[in-house]
Subunit: 161 residues, 2 copies
DNA sequence: GGGAGTTTGTTGAACGCTCAACCACATGCT
DNA sequence: AGCATGTGGTTGAGCGTTCAACAAACTCCC
């Protein structure tokens, strides 16, 4: 891959930034997840799915499309949807146009759960992230993260093992 | 926790930023982890531990201190160290001063593994993150993430379930 | 100096994710 | 039409994480 000589190491300040980034994401995701779990028995990945479904026409999205939107593998989405289905939050439905297709549909109960959970989640995002940046800084954050996504999210499809 | 009325929702642009952030961290961590695994049979959490150990006097750190540094639970570190020990990369050692204490020590072989893996990792961080930001933007990123850490990392100790 | 309370580290079960293999359907080529 | 290749979704095993419970050692205070 690389020889032992051609690697440009990070400067000390760059390293500090990188470690802050690593620490911040670890703590942030952990905290948001825990908040959702304790208050609504919902994990972050589950919550993300509910949000996407709720915004979609008919509150339903094809499995592969769902996976692409939240950057998870198809397999992972299958497992998550299975759990959500068991909780009565979501249900599976054969896609009309494509014999293989399966679409996940948000149930009324699922929508109600989401309406509750959204408060917890949004308050968390504000308190832990948004409030820690000025409007300009937050903007910069968005731009950089956007570039990372477009670089790494090759052709809009997540790693599909 | 909250009533149904007092939640300040995110504006549409704020939402876009948050989703970019979520997507970027998912893709980024995934990719760095995969790169390390395929090239050096090492996960990101494992790698983080090796880095901290290598920088420490005697290449050794107490378990709890290690957990605090990388923001993982003590339990998680125990498991990870157990796996690393099995690979001969690290070994456990009774702490002199404290009867309960255990310190993890990086072996020579572990250090050699790290020397290789570091190239892969740093090149990844540069290519996927650093190069996607100007110097100023990267700086802003560091400041914001730093604030998040100091808010969420209450008294320097990670969630200790 | 002898308990009450705290800190350190481990354990095992349950949960969630990854990975490779797989089937079913769709598409394209000739 | 018929076969090759690609896509959509699932499955189950194995791995890594969380969580609650625990034992051992330290601290403090009377």
């Amino acid at each position: 891959m690389e020889t032992t000589t051609d690697t440009q190491w990070l400067t000390e300040p760059q390293q500090r930034v990188w470690r802050s980034f690593l620490g911040a994401t670890t703590l942030l995701m952990d905290r948001l997840d825990r908040d959702l779990r304790t208050a609504h028995d919902l994990s972050m990945p589950e919550y993300e799915i509910l949000v996407r479904l709720s915004e979609s026409p008919d509150r339903s999205i094809r499995m592969a499309e769902l996976a692409a939107q939240i950057m998870h593998s198809r397999s992972r989405v299958t497992h998550t949807i299975t759990r959500l289905e068991r909780k009565g939050i979501v249900l599976r439905q054969q896609a009309a146009s494509d014999g293989r297709g399966v679409t996940a549909v948000l149930t009324d109960h699922g929508f109600a759960v989401l309406e509750q959970a959204a408060h917890t989640h949004v308050n968390g995002v504000r308190a832990y992230l948004v409030e820690n940046a000025s409007a300009e800084e937050f903007d910069v954050l968005g731009q950089v993260m956007g570039r990372v996504v477009s670089q790494l999210d090759v052709n809009g499809t997540c790693a599909t093992p």
